[in-house]
Symmetry: C2
Subunit: 434 residues, 2 copies
């Protein structure tokens, strides 16, 4: 059973602080190993990648090649059932439709001083997407990373996915094909990140790398950051459900377990204004934990990091939610829109009892790559914005320079940056000659 | 004299690669020291900050307090000349007008399946801005960091600025007041970053930290990233000027020197389609380097990292510009708009000979905090986007869940995430009962 908290109890603040600060992830320090792998790939390119793949994935790619061939991709995709293929295509279509709307507009205007100002957005030229192998090889994550990149206009999108002992999930390749991925390499680990960032004889370097991975991949992404852009380093998944008594406890229990089953370090929280309902949900969780396939993982997560928090009213729930800044926030209350208005910090909000969080993982349309570990206070989920960048634009006329140039000269002087000032002065002098 | 390159020469690629990869910054490894300082501030709060300030800034704040009082701020601001004040206000007004236009819209729509989708933007609650002390204490940078935060709606904006031996630049305090900064602390270094990230008895923690700093500040920002958001770690400044022969060589020389004077590690590059013009600019630089106040810095930068690159035509110039991905790109050619269209990667573009880059540093309106070290390939300058975050929103109706729920169930099964699927199935079962 998880911990039960009640905001009316005197020790609530201490207990809530413990829930908030529970250290759910203890990453092994692999930084030295990763530094060595990156240096090796930079120095020896393909040869290093081949050696490391032979060592870690027990796979000789010297003859097969680092990349899947079109024929191999075709053969794997043919293994996918029509039902699975249709589900992937439904998901892809909905994710694409949502992300197309995210594309921001360019802007340009001339201000009262005669200066023309604006900005324009351009896509990153080449992006790399890391896809984990094995159990965590999720085709839905391929769609969620690759589609925004392609919607943004990324010309070249490369995927790396390790295939330990040669095993690949056909759905991953099909998802990549549906999303329009251009290159697929069967490599993984820090060596894949190094190859994407620095390039090898076979793999051209990219400008941005996204996608989840283990501690080695995360450490490698941190190391290559600067040389290339990276997305956030994702932590274990989280959900906060705020539910009143007018819900089916089993539905809420399943929503909580759908995060808990991801990882023993996942965190599932319930806030309710009805203590008896909280108990019913906890009982429903226990019942489900008897039979769930991933009951060991889900049970450990719920036991170690789960909590039921009883509040006086929904205003109190909203205030606590902002302190949690959850990755996923599910609002199962009579007026979910009104409650959503009272919250400020969440990666994604799911409104009402007919919107289980799992819909958002697959087919809702919004991205499922979302800020974890309270980072929704300052960051956003993956979007087309991660694959475009803004260039600001300014154009002065002689008249505009006459109006605003003197202020620039003055400030340059005050900062003792003489050449800055003179670059304006020289032009103003020319204007004054006329 | 800087290096002269010519794209028609056989060794051009090797020489250009050397210009691109010149290692201009050799940060001392201060990570262990910084880790110790952060741990100390986390453990002892104000007491640690006071001790470190006494040690590094030779300043006893135990009696004066960590924060500037309103009376102190008032007294310092009164020292600023009316001309400097007017220039700051002109700059602030123009920067604000530009950044107001950056605020993105919320969105909400109902799709053909009956799902209501959208997103909303909310501000970061509290932000901290690091302002360097001493020579690099630029009031313009206070405006460029603080105004976007306030335009974004940040409720609480705190500045830290070290005042070694008690010395403060009054213009920095005035810029902070004009920008609407809420709290100003006279502390600096890694201890200031630690205080902003973790809080002390006096300083409440913030959610996001921006602003430039030395190697200690940069290392501290990297360390607290995750606990709070940070902006990019800025490298030495850069400018690329593309100029045809129809320019005053002295103007172009001053534009190049306005970056070179920032830092010996700055990089100023000229691309021209007229070799003789390139020579004239180089001569004009030498002439200016006789008298510039910061000639030692500017001269070292120009000698070590500057380059004049002669190209066959402007198309070639655009292609090279994209490989450089410059922080600042100045286009002094007959049709700068057409040339801008041919480039993809730059932090900021300045169109035409009447738009010296220095205008953008102070009063143009766009931000002067821009991506360096080729990171314009994948990132953007500072903007209101750095102080807001997006929450995605989804709401299913029973009818919508009936349409798209089965695809989610299917994909959950394929990923062996049973509870995900069951959370949808339980609801669909209820609908099928009816």
């Amino acid at each position: 059973m998880p911990v039960f908290l009640d905001t009316t109890q005197p020790d609530f603040e201490a207990q809530f602080a413990a829930v908030l600060s529970a250290k759910r992830e203890d990453s092994p320090d692999v930084d030295d190993i990763v530094a060595g792998i990156i240096a090796d790939v930079r120095a020896r390119g393909d040869a290093a990648v081949l050696e490391l793949t032979a060592k870690f994935d027990r796979l000789d790619l010297a003859t097969d090649g680092l990349a899947f061939t079109p024929a191999e991709i075709e053969a794997e995709c043919a293994k996918v059932s029509p039902e699975d293929r249709a589900a992937l295509e439904t998901a892809a279509q909905r994710i694409r439709a949502y992300h197309v709307r995210q594309m921001p507009e360019d802007a340009q205007w001339t201000d009262p001083d005669g200066a023309t100002l604006g900005w324009r957005w351009t896509p990153v030229s080449a992006a790399g997407l890391y896809v984990p192998g094995g159990l965590a090889s999720y085709p839905s994550s391929v769609l969620m990373n690759a589609i925004p990149a392609k919607v943004a206009g990324v010309q070249r999108l490369a995927i790396t996915v390790p295939t330990p002992d040669g095993v690949i999930n056909p759905l991953v390749l099909l998802a990549a094909r549906i999303a329009g991925v251009d290159e697929i390499y069967r490599i993984g680990g820090a060596q894949a990140i190094a190859a994407l960032a620095y390039g090898t004889q076979t793999i051209a370097p990219v400008d941005k790398i996204t996608g989840p991975g283990n501690a080695f991949v995360a450490a490698a992404k941190r190391r290559v950051f600067g040389k290339v852009g990276i997305d956030m380093i994702a932590g274990p998944s989280e959900i906060l459900v705020i539910a009143d008594a007018e819900n089916d406890p089993d539905w809420i229990a399943l929503d909580l377990m759908s995060q808990a089953e991801h990882d023993e370090s996942a965190q599932s929280l319930l806030i309710t204004d009805d203590a008896a309902f909280g108990q019913r949900v906890a009982q429903a969780v226990e019942a489900r934990l008897q039979t769930l396939e991933r009951r060991d993982i889900a049970g450990a997560s719920w036991r170690d990091y789960g909590a039921v928090i009883v509040v006086r009213d929904l205003d109190e729930a909203a205030a606590l939610s902002d302190r949690i800044a959850p990755e996923h926030l599910e609002l199962c209350v009579a007026d979910p829109e009104a409650l959503a208005e009272k919250t400020n910090h969440a990666g994604a909000i799911f409104l009402g009892q007919w919107t289980p969080e799992a819909i958002g993982d697959y087919v809702g349309g919004p991205n499922h790559v979302l800020p974890t570990a309270r980072s929704a206070r300052f960051s956003s989920g993956l979007s087309v914005m991660d694959f475009i960048k803004r260039t600001t634009i300014a154009k002065m006329t002689p008249a505009a320079l006459r109006v605003i140039g003197p202020a620039a000269e003055r400030l340059a002087q005050s900062e003792s940056l003489e050449a800055h000032g003179l670059s304006v002065t020289a032009r103003l002098n020319k204007l004054n000659e006329k």
